[in-house]
Subunit: 182 residues, 2 copies
Amino acid sequence: MAILDAAIRLFCRDGIGATGIDAVVREAGVARMTIYNHFGSKDGLVVAALERESAAWRTWFFARLAALQLPPREKLLAVFDILTEWFERDDYFGCALMNAVLEVRNNSEALMAVTMAHKKPVLEQLRAIAVAAGVRDPFRFTEQFDLIMNGAIVNALFTGSTNPAQDAKSVVAALIDTQIQA
Amino acid sequence: MAILDAAIRLFCRDGIGATGIDAVVREAGVARMTIYNHFGSKDGLVVAALERESAAWRTWFFARLAALQLPPREKLLAVFDILTEWFERDDYFGCALMNAVLEVRNNSEALMAVTMAHKKPVLEQLRAIAVAAGVRDPFRFTEQFDLIMNGAIVNALFTGSTNPAQDAKSVVAALIDTQIQA
DNA sequence: ATATAGATAGACCGATCGTTCTAATTTGAA
DNA sequence: TTCAAATTAGAACGATCGGTCTATCTATAT
């Protein structure tokens, strides 16, 4: 859907609040009424665009992850090489879901629902790998892994470099090595 | 200054873009012209408010840090107990500077300057403690520490709990233990 | 007591916001 | 070919945006 592609592009680049419907109309080359017929309102468009972005990102991420033929510990570390690929894209503007939730300060239950639905399968996959790696407390490890990923995501946006991915990688390496059963 | 206090309160709670001048006028109980006479424009008000918030936060943080009578390694870990205090405040809405920069996607050099001026002394202080703790690569360690702090800050906002602070604390413990010279 | 500077409330400006409406045009299936 | 459904461009709506102007009031200092 060209409308959603245009919308997510602008939402990511300029922010949701700063992107007017007219900007989406221009970017998508479509009539304003077409947007309202499809999505009902700007909020509807926002949710639909973020859902699409979420699905596209997960498809890409899981494919990258599945392509790795590595033992569990190395697979967890390789996640940050995948993030490096993400960070060096010229249209990298951080995580669309995270930016959206931060922009509205958790005040949209619809956005929170989309974000939770986004994070859940990702973290479950990572937790399964952590279990296979023999991590002591997989649930807590996954929360820490998520925290480190998020730190890398915002610092990569902040600094405009991919260094945070490799910084995060060695942090996780240190974390794993204290969590593997002897 | 009551204007700046009101402004930062609204900017933190609702976001900068979502906060109109009229809202600040209402919150501060002041005339609109008074704001423009003092700060010239909304952007001027934003910068002034963020500078004030930055200074207030650093004063608080450094005082908390100085009050700790601990060896360097434990002092680095105690940072996350200080963060816990921050996260449990009912007016916690994440880091004002980080939220602002994320909201404008690095497109305001004025905001970036304020944010850099904010982070620099904090990271330098932490680096000095890391040096005293005998960390192998203090510069890289500080970048990783910053990344972990930022992850905790966003996850605390996200989950509305203080758990990310303690999660981050044990991550840093693991990181330090692999970085201390034998 | 008077003069000066600052703050006040509120009308007002043009621009833009999200949204609706309409009338003409294009599309696709029967 | 025909007819219905979808899309189009653009005017228009009320609300709100950042910002300006003015006229009145309230201090403070000499």
